[in-house]
Amino acid sequence: MDPIKASLLKKSRAAKSETRGKLLSLFCISLIVFIVLAIFYFVASKGLATFFHDKVNLGRFLTQSSWNPSLKDSHGRPEVGALPMILGSFGVTFLAALLATPFAIGAGIFMTEISPKRGEKILQPVMELLVGIPSVVYGFIGLSVIVPAVRTVFGGSGFGILAGTCVLFVMILPTVTSMTVDALKSVPRYYREASLALGATRWQTTWKVVLRAATPGILTGVVFGMARAFGEALAVQMVIGNAALLPHNLITPASTLTSVLTMGIGNTVMGSLANNALWSLALLLLLMSLMFNLLVRLIGRKGAISR
């Protein structure tokens, strides 16, 4: 009995490696957290400088519609109204999500309910490829195909929210679709069987049970898609026209937070108001990203199917 006692009490090799492993992984996560914090700090410090250092009024920043950081208006206040960009960003994001959702759900249902085999063989890789296509390429195609197409169909320059929406639609479709598929797949098989066994057709089953059970998952996918659309820069910038104007229709040039940010950052001097104002836009983006994430969490928590 005593050797057991003794051996039980000696610290094992395993216990030591445990400590080491835990420290190692803790180090990694700490580093990531540090990076995240650093980014937050940089963006926030620069973005907030607009308000604290340059004394721009936050309310005006969010509600004014003229963006001319280098100029001053009649009252000597810098013209930093981000409203057009905010509206533009939301516009393209919501429209793209609105367009992508039915397609994503349709494709998702096709892949999980109608023809899982073909879904797996064809649609799945298609989605993965769509995700893989770099955004420069999307921008390039948007510029050379969608903008002229919009121009021919609707007139105008072709640049605008519509073109941006089209590009973003394709870009977020795979994200939304793959999350929709995940959500549909995670609806337990027995829901379907139960419904069919109660005398429902496949469509009734899908519509009344499967989709309903998958709704939180699908919504999460849509929000994720929106987050991606909101943060997308290059492709949108290439097709939206980048006019800091309040958008009043879909086919005149507009701008998004990201497009103004990418465009302007190189032409401003660090520390200047113009530069800080751009960082404020970045901060706004960051906050939006945070909001989307919280939204996803909320949906996830509310809609969690136990088991």
Binding site: S66, W67, N68, P69, S70, L71, L143, V147, P148, R151, G156, S157, G158, F159, Q237, M238, G241, N242, A243, A244, L245, P253, S255, T262, M263, G264, G266, N267, T268, V269, M270, G271, S272, L273, A274, N275
Partner: protein, 267 residues
């Protein structure tokens, strides 16, 4: 960075997209002639060039503007090297057919007072303004000499010259402006008050929309930077490559423009 001799040397120039092609070409040529010595050239815009040279992040900051003109730049720390002059011309879509505008008309177009080409004798076609990004050297120069104190109408913006050119080329009724070095067959240039956008007119200041191309260094250049700038400013380069690339050697200018815009004839 300053690498040791046998591992080569490199310096970086950043900034103005208007100047970028010239410096890039010269850098390539210089490297070809001096093995192990590299000049990296980045675009990014005049703002970037000025702010980075000020930060000391790079060895050369390219700009279309005088450092003094840019808010937030402490010009006294920087040394200006005017390496060329470039003219800027309004360009329109080729299908438009308008060949000539007065300077006022041009200003009215960009300020939004003229919205249809028929107001200036062109076809019944809405004007589509394409601007460069705010703060870009080209735009600042254009606005300084065309718009005077007029306010530019918010309109479509692009942050790169190439993009502006292709949009003008593809969009009916489009008008924008380009550095001479970017002008090609896809777009049509406009005469202003009957004066054509040519180097000859720039040299005489008959064509008023032009700017110096500056390379700024922080303090006096040293080492490779110094050698490279010497190379750029050498007569051989100034007389051959600069012209060929669509720029005008500073030495050929018959006028000189100061930071404040005052023109003096060169003796």
């Amino acid at each position: 960075g300053c690498q040791s001799k046998q591992n080569g040397q490199s310096v970086t120039a950043v900034g103005s997209s208007a100047l970028q092609p010239l410096i890039e070409a010269l850098a390539e040529e210089y490297s070809a002639q001096h093995s192990g010595q590299f000049i990296n050239v980045q675009g990014g815009g005049s703002g970037t060039g000025l702010s980075q040279i000020q930060e000391g992040a790079v060895q050369m900051g390219n700009s279309d503007l005088f450092a003094e003109e840019k808010a937030g730049i402490k010009a006294d720390q920087l040394v200006d090297h005017k390496v060329a002059v470039v003219g800027i011309t309004p360009v329109v879509n080729k299908q438009l057919g308008v060949k000539n505008l007065t300077l006022t008309q041009l200003a009215q177009i960009f300020s939004g007072e003229i919205t249809n080409w028929k107001q200036v004798g062109g076809p019944n076609q809405a004007v589509v303004i394409i601007n460069r990004a705010q703060g870009s050297g080209t735009r600042t120069t254009f606005e300084q000499w065309v718009m005077k104190k007029r306010k530019t109408k918010p309109a479509q913006e692009q942050d790169s010259t190439g993009m502006v050119r292709s949009i003008v080329a593809n969009t009916p009724g489009a008008i924008s402006y380009l550095a001479f070095s970017y002008v090609d067959k896809t777009v049509a240039t406009l005469k202003l008050d009957g004066i054509a956008p040519t180097d000859a007119n720039v040299v005489k200041n008959a064509w008023p929309i032009w700017s110096y191309e500056h390379v700024y260094t922080k303090g006096q250049p040293t080492g490779l930077t110094k050698k490279f700038l010497a190379y750029v400013l050498s007569d051989e380069v100034q007389n051959k490559q600069v012209g060929k690339m669509g720029y005008i050697p500073v030495s050929q200018m018959q006028v000189e423009r100061s930071v404040t815009g005052t023109i003096t004839k060169v003796k």
